[in-house]
Symmetry: C2
Subunit: 189 residues, 2 copies
């Protein structure tokens, strides 16, 4: 089975976005870009919620994305994108496919198909939905050195607790800490 | 000036307590107890909010505390406790002193007194109040391998962001990760 790996920036106080979706607290440096490229290079698909899809689709194909992120931009434009949204009619970014319903079934089908592991970036609603369903295999958090006080969680509406096994703890570039986990049970309980 | 150091357990999703104050997700093992004793041994005082004070005062002086935590129990009973509460009339746990008003002034006075550094355990309302006032010098988080989905933050009501400098990132006993930070500015902004 192909794995699904969440790879998200978080604040020290556990948010993946500010209260209005702000992401301007992300640390940006070369070591982190290299790390993100390393993470992406053997992945078979990106799984995205609507908001992250729209944000990505409006940025990554542009000339300034290629200028600012010459390694990541072609990778993100080329990789297969699976977009989960009930409201979008089309997903026109290169190699994007829209899934409008039956997320659980569709994700299970994707996992059973041959291919490389899949990764979720951002997409809090998808992370929480798939976490509730026990469909996430690994979580990788890039802990940014900031406290926001308020913000959005990628684990809203969990029905119970999810115990994890620590797989990785590594300081990157002296500012970001990478924490890697695997769920110890199939679902939160 | 004496430093104030916050040393708190947190979940992966950033809570220091469950939605009803639950702390039963804390990892407990010998290595962690040793670490906590090491943290406490050169500290001049504990700063506590009412809830944490009452919890501690009802447990640490008991025989079962001495049985379960033979190293920590005498340390916590002996150390000076400063309790911040408007509603308590007395603080009768050994070496406790009650501060009912003017937290900012009283904490500044404590910092200016000679003595060893002070530590805050639990006490989310005190952590957030002193963080807002820019009076915390160091934060040490023990990240426990669990996602709760809901819970209480020790950084509620921050007026702005607090950027931090990463001082320590260390996996302890393969389950807990210690993340140590210092604020980069005097106050959140």
């Amino acid at each position: 089975m192909r794995k699904i790996i969440v790879a998200n920036h978080v604040t020290i106080d556990g948010f993946f976005a500010g209260p209005n979706g702000e992401l301007d607290w992300f640390v940006r440096d070369d070591q982190l870009a290299k790390y993100a490229a390393e993470q992406l290079k053997d992945k078979g698909a990106l799984l995205l919620g609507r908001k992250t899809y729209q944000l990505f689709a409006s940025y990554w194909p542009t000339p300034s994305a290629y200028e600012d992120n010459p390694i990541l931009a072609p990778m993100l434009n080329d990789i297969e994108k699976i977009v989960f949204s009930r409201t979008l009619d089309r997903a026109e970014w290169s190699n994007s496919r829209l899934i409008k319903e039956n997320i659980a079934e569709e994700v299970l089908k994707l996992k059973e198909q041959p291919g490389n592991d899949m990764v979720i970036l951002g997409s809090g609603s998808i992370v929480s939905a798939l976490t509730r369903l026990g469909l996430i295999d690994e979580y990788e958090f890039m802990v940014n050195p900031v406290i926001l006080g308020r913000g959005r969680s990628q684990f809203e509406g969990l029905d119970g607790r999810l115990k994890m096994k620590l797989m990785k703890a590594e300081a990157l570039s002296s500012r970001i800490v990478i924490l890697g986990y695997r769920p110890m049970k199939d679902k939160p309980r």
